[in-house]
Amino acid sequence: FTNQATQINAWDKLLIANNDKIVALNDAVQKVKADQTTLEQELEFIATQHAELEESIAPLQKEFMNMPQV
């Protein structure tokens, strides 16, 4: 009987330890998810910037490339 009680106490300890680790894991996963979302938003911003760059380059290219060569 004592043996069984000892066993149950050991399981309890392991469960509590696992529980703590799972809480930490959960925090880490939430953080990683949030960071990934930030990365994706930054990518969206880059896409907008690219479109703007392209828009400002196109007329310059058109104008300067048509200039008479020396």
């Binding site: 990934q36 880059i46 392209e54």
Partner: protein, 78 residues
């Protein structure tokens, strides 16, 4: 009493197991998002290289035509 504790422990373990499966799924999804992000970054790097190249050509052209239409400088007149 012991039986009851064992029951509780079983339930707790089952809950842990389910949560861990959810984390596994989350991680799979995160890896997919990560792969998509990597692909987009590669695309943007290519795009930037292309834009840089285009603007460089414009700069070269502009430099070579800078003096067209300007009065000759004294040195050039001599």
């Amino acid at each position: 009493e012991l039986k009851w504790r064992i029951k509780c422990q079983e339930k707790e373990t089952e809950a842990h197991n389910q949560y861990l499966s959810k984390v596994e799924k989350d991680l799979t999804e995160l890896k997919q998002r990560h792969a998509a992000t990597t692909a987009r970054i590669m695309e943007y790097r290519r795009k930037l290289a292309e834009l840089s190249h285009r603007i460089l050509k414009v700069i070269v052209k502009q430099e070579s035509t800078r003096k067209v239409g300007m009065a000759l400088s004294p040195e050039e007149e001599v």
